[in-house]
Amino acid sequence: MSTPLLTVSHLEKSYQKTHILHDISFDLDAGEVLTLLGPSGSGKSTLLRCLNGLEAFQAGTLTFAGEVITQKAKQWQQLRQQIGMVFQSYDLFPNRTVLENILLGPLKVQKRSRETVLPEVEKLLQQVGMRDYRDAYPRQLSGGQKQRIAIVRALALKPRLMLFDEVTASLDPEMVRDVLTIIRQLADTHQMTMLVVTHEMDFAQQISDQVLFLADGRIQEQTPGPQFFKRPQTSRAQNFLASMDF
């Protein structure tokens, strides 16, 4: 049996006196798509941010590709090249063109040459249908277009794991589908390992190999995707699915 790509064990997170995450443990195998579901304020986004070093945690261990994460700044800088993250608010750099946004990581962080990176980036841009926008500035793009570029920016580093934090939450409904299609392609054709926080239940149902249901900062259940949507094990999850009305 191969070791999981990511192992989270007994992770605890608190801000001062408020306990945000309690005893979070799960495994994520390479090629698997894990969806984090749960009501607002259940700690989904915080958990995702812990996995990228944007939030520190107080107890527990993270193991990524066999390496224990010590939470040192240097180590996170290395790991972030392998763990890509896409945010709800896109957060493209407004002073840089689309291409400059994407190339910053590969050229400056990974010190790869422009000649080798450029063809890869052009291919990625083509895949997300943004090839004609490489010299545009973020302010000239729509929300959906910005988010597609943000995904390419993360992919350009060739990560082994992608974290998606409510990436469609600030998009107009008609833009949501484009972005979700791209994420699904990434899972289907590239077998990208992903951790996805979303409120789009249809999408979650289509994409999830596993569902991690969180409430009040605890894992309530971890269930294979198809089963979770048909027969959730806990009443919390049943109520949650009923309230989502999809």
């Binding site: 944007l54 700044a73 800088q77 090249q81 957060d91 750099f93 962080v109």
Partner: protein
């Protein structure tokens, strides 16, 4: 024809002497501003570090130079440096030093404020692609912060130019000191000369500061439009 006193300006080399004084003024303001802006930018970046003792020290530095009046600073450095540290600098250099330290203090606050006003999301997006601290500063934060710094910096420059008028107190031969000498030398023959001398000094300062202040206004306007896009 009534004696207006304007010939004070044209007599002998008076006008050239005034221009020479103006050059001293400009040189001190310029050199101090360049040193101060560079030093202050660095201090401003350091003030955003999570290192608490460093932040406290730099904050004290800022407050010292902001609270103590410039005249007092000039006297302090002019009299204390030679006495306590046995460092005898010419008045021009003392003036440049004091002004540079003052500009650095003010500049550090402008830069700190601008850097901190770049949103946390931008910082996190930069971290998420693996940028280290200095790369984040260089590629993400500083390019976004510097347009925010510009208007306040140009305003600071106009204050520097105006404050050079205090330099005569430590006997720097700036434009005001020269003007004062000319007035005193011609007081008997040209009692009205004082209006012309100070009139021309007013004009000099105006010609330097008015474009600067227009520029600052333009930059602010530009920024407002940019943020409302």
């Amino acid at each position: 024809m009534a004696h207006s006193g304007i010939d004070v300006l044209t007599m002998g080399s008076n006008f050239w002497r005034l221009l020479g004084g103006l050059w001293i003024t400009i040189r001190i303001a310029l050199v101090a501003s360049i040193i101060g802006i560079l030093l202050g930018s660095l201090l401003g970046i350091l003030r955003t570090l999570p290192n608490r003792p460093l932040r406290v020290v730099l904050r004290l530095y800022l407050e010292f130079f902001r609270i103590v009046p410039t005249v007092v600073l000039l006297f302090l450095f002019y009299y204390i440096l030679p006495k306590q540290f046995n460092l005898n600098l010419p008045a021009n250099q003392v003036a440049t030093l004091v002004f540079a330290l003052w500009v650095a203090a003010e500049m550090s606050d402008i830069v700190r404020g601008a850097l901190q006003s770049v949103s946390t999301h931008q910082r996190e997006a930069g971290q998420a692609i693996g940028l280290n601290y200095w790369q984040l500063q260089r590629y993400v934060l500083i390019p976004q912060a510097w347009p925010l710094c510009l208007p306040a910096t140009v305003n600071l420059l106009t204050r520097v130019v105006k404050t050079t008028s205090l330099l005569m107190l430590i006997s720097v031969m700036d434009v005001i000191n020269i003007g004062q000498q000319i007035i005193e030398a011609n007081n008997k023959t040209d009692p009205n000369g004082v209006f012309w001398i100070y009139g021309i000094i007013f004009l000099f300062y105006f010609l330097i500061n008015y474009p600067l202040s227009r520029w600052a206004k333009h930059l602010t306007q530009h920024q407002l439009e940019a943020t409302h896009l």
